[in-house]
């Protein structure tokens, strides 16, 4: 039961239509599958393959290149602690050790109750706010041990409704109203753009 629900299938078709070639929609559709399931299960890969017109092996080939796509269900909250150079200089090592202790798991692990996965990750573009971390790709800047404990406790208590469960990225989606759309530009149609005139 991890094929797209109707609403997502409609959305998937809408996304595909935005691109000149369906295959370009592969990563967006994998995000959609991960949003629906929390990870990308095998039958979702097969469905994405059908939708964009490639083999499921090709989908796996692409998916496996990208760190964010999970093939097994991670914790409800994916805690990523940055260990890039700026965070490293500002105490990321200590923060990571503290996180491992607090959650009782090593980097790469998931708590037995399925609530938290922990990982040390490369630079997340918050270098002036070191040490930084993300929970389900939502930032926490200038993190301290105490701040980390509060965050984890609040998540465990269900008090952080601003952080959606793993799989859901942006909660605002692009909508292109059909009457406003200029339309995808096919690489196979060679036309001088009208505003260039004879150009």
């Amino acid at each position: 039961m991890s094929r797209f629900i109707d609403e997502n299938l409609r959305l998937a078709r809408e996304i595909i239509a935005r691109y000149p070639k369906p295959r370009s929609a592969m990563i967006p559709l994998l995000h959609l599958a991960q949003e629906q399931n929390g990870y990308v299960p095998q039958d979702a890969m097969e469905e994405v393959a059908e939708l964009v017109g490639v083999s499921s092996a090709e989908v796996l080939g692409t998916l496996s290149f990208y760190e964010m796509f999970k093939q097994i269900q991670p914790g409800r909250y994916q805690v990523n602690i940055c260990h890039g150079i700026s965070c490293f200089l500002c105490g990321a090592g200590e923060l990571l050790s503290h996180a491992e202790e607090k959650l009782g798991i090593k980097s790469g692990g998931t708590t037995p109750d399925g609530m938290f996965s922990l990982e040390a990750v490369e630079c997340i573009a918050a270098c002036t706010e070191a040490p930084a971390l993300q929970v389900n790709y939502r930032y926490s800047h200038r993190s301290t041990s105490e701040g980390f404990d509060e965050l984890v406790d609040a998540l465990a208590a269900g008090d952080r409704t601003d952080i959606p469960e793993h799989g859901i990225l942006a909660t605002v989606r692009q909508r292109i109203p059909s009457e406003r759309a200029a339309g995808a530009s096919s690489p196979d149609v060679s036309e001088v753009p009208v505003w260039l005139g004879e150009g």
Partner: protein, 438 residues
């Protein structure tokens, strides 16, 4: 002319990310101005501005735009919002705080060059930036700034928001295109595949950085000449620099490009305010993890592309990482090399194998399990990736990621060799195991 803030000028306006907030602060004036001009004149203004690319390579945007072969259609625009070079933090801010400015920049570029579709590639891990950009796009579509017949003219272009999924190498422009085509993000061999002539789906494609494009509304509103008046000779306008690491006030500062010195941006009170805890400077990285390190003697150099290039490093993506005297050079070097080893896409041997070997050797040194000849081996591997350690590197690889891993090693070994030697002297002899096993 005293203009300090061009692209961050709305960062203090709370609702600048909304269409109302943007319009109330002069938004979309550049686009309206452009639409009154002949497209080729818009391109000319950008050439006059001599706007250098802000993504890393620092290539003049107006010149790159000129590389689209005439008569080949369609042409695409791909916005590089993959920001992942360690130390770099500016594009995310621009997308979160002023997404309409970026959108307006995309529209101006598309109008000027006849680009018929734009793909805005935002790094996968940046959920909030994706939300802000999506909301801005939705508003701009509704208000007639994007899509069919923009502002009632015959100019039409769609901007499609696309999210990445976690891979540093996708920031390299040809890997970005592969990714956008639904493939593994592996760079293409160039030449012949320079995106301006052979890009997305084999068609002419302009790839520009978020910050580069965010400058366009100001340039068109005020003119390329006004932009060129700011900053230095070649490094014109202003530029965002993230100053991170051991400073009192880490932050992202927009300063006149080519004028402000490293000493000012690191030490002045209005910028990073000096080394934290009153300690001494050990070294700093002037332009992101890929850049060779600078030291005390480089502090008075201006943040100017040509000057920094000549001094043997680069301004790269505007990322200044400061390390104080307590920093362990071996550990810092290992940290940077580990990044490149993990992010190597694996397409070419010197990088795939070499960076992994380098990481293992440095890890051995750091754990005091080094072998006496480890530093020679390390240098030998570096020489295979980047022959002669020249700057800019001579490449044996398809893209610059491989040689980037060599920068921290040559820097750290060149200046702080004694620290490596101390680790090695303290190392226990271990039975020999081939480095590439496991």
């Amino acid at each position: 002319m005293a203009v300090d803030h061009i692209i961050t000028k709305r960062f203090n306006i709370v609702d600048a990310h909304t269409l109302d907030g943007y319009l109330a602060s002069g938004g979309y004036r550049g686009l309206r101005r452009a639409l009154e001009m002949v497209p080729s004149d818009v391109h000319e203004e950008v050439k006059t501005a001599s706007l250098l690319g802000r993504g890393g390579a620092g290539f003049p945007a107006g010149v790159k735009w000129g590389f689209c072969p005439p008569g080949v259609w369609p042409r695409y625009l791909v916005v590089n919002g993959d920001e992942s070079e360690p130390g770099t933090y500016k594009d995310r801010l621009l997308m979160e705080r002023d997404p309409h400015q970026l959108i307006e920049g995309c529209l101006i570029a598309s109008y000027a060059l006849g680009l018929s579709q734009c793909f805005l590639y935002v790094r996968g891990e940046m959920a909030e930036a994706q939300e802000r950009v999506a909301a801005a796009l939705n508003e701009a579509y509704e208000a007639g700034y994007i899509g069919k017949n923009i502002c009632g003219t015959d100019f039409s272009v769609d901007i499609v928001l696309h999210w990445g999924a976690g891979a540093y190498i996708v920031g390299e422009e040809t890997a970005l295109l592969e990714s956008l085509e639904g493939r593994r993000g592996m760079p293409r061999l160039k030449p012949p595949a320079f995106p301006a002539s052979f890009g997305l789906y084999g068609k002419p494609t302009i790839v520009n950085n978020v910050e580069t494009l965010s400058n366009l509304p100001w340039i068109i509103e005020h003119g390329g000449a006004a932009f060129a008046e700011l900053g230095g000779e070649q490094s014109t306008g202003t530029r965002m620099f993230a100053v991170s690491g051991h400073v009192k006030r880490p932050g992202v500062y927009e300063v006149e490009f080519g004028v402000t010195t490293f000493r000012e941006i690191i030490y002045a009170d209005e910028y990073a305010g000096g080394i934290a805890g009153g300690r001494e400077l050990k070294c700093f990285i002037p332009g992101g993890a890929s850049a060779p390190w600078f030291y005390e003697e480089h502090l008075d150099l201006p943040l100017d592309k040509a000057t920094v290039d000549q001094a043997g490093s680069m301004l790269g993506s505007g990322a200044i990482v400061v390390m104080d005297e307590t920093t362990d050079a071996v550990a810092a070097c290992h940290n940077l090399v580990r990044f490149f080893a993990r992010e190597s896409c694996g397409k070419c041997t010197p990088c795939r194998e070499g960076t992994a070997w380098m990481e293992q050797i440095l890890s051995r040194v750091l754990h005091r399990q080094a072998r006496p000849d480890d530093l020679d081996l390390l240098l030998d591997i570096c020489d295979n990736i980047s022959p002669g350690f020249a700057w800019p590197p001579k490449m044996t690889t398809i893209c610059p990621l491989g040689p980037s891993a060599v920068s921290p090693v040559i820097s750290a070994l060149g200046r702080f060799k004694d620290e490596f030697e101390t680790y090695i002297a303290q190392s226990q002899a271990r039975p020999r195991i081939p480095v590439a096993s496991g």
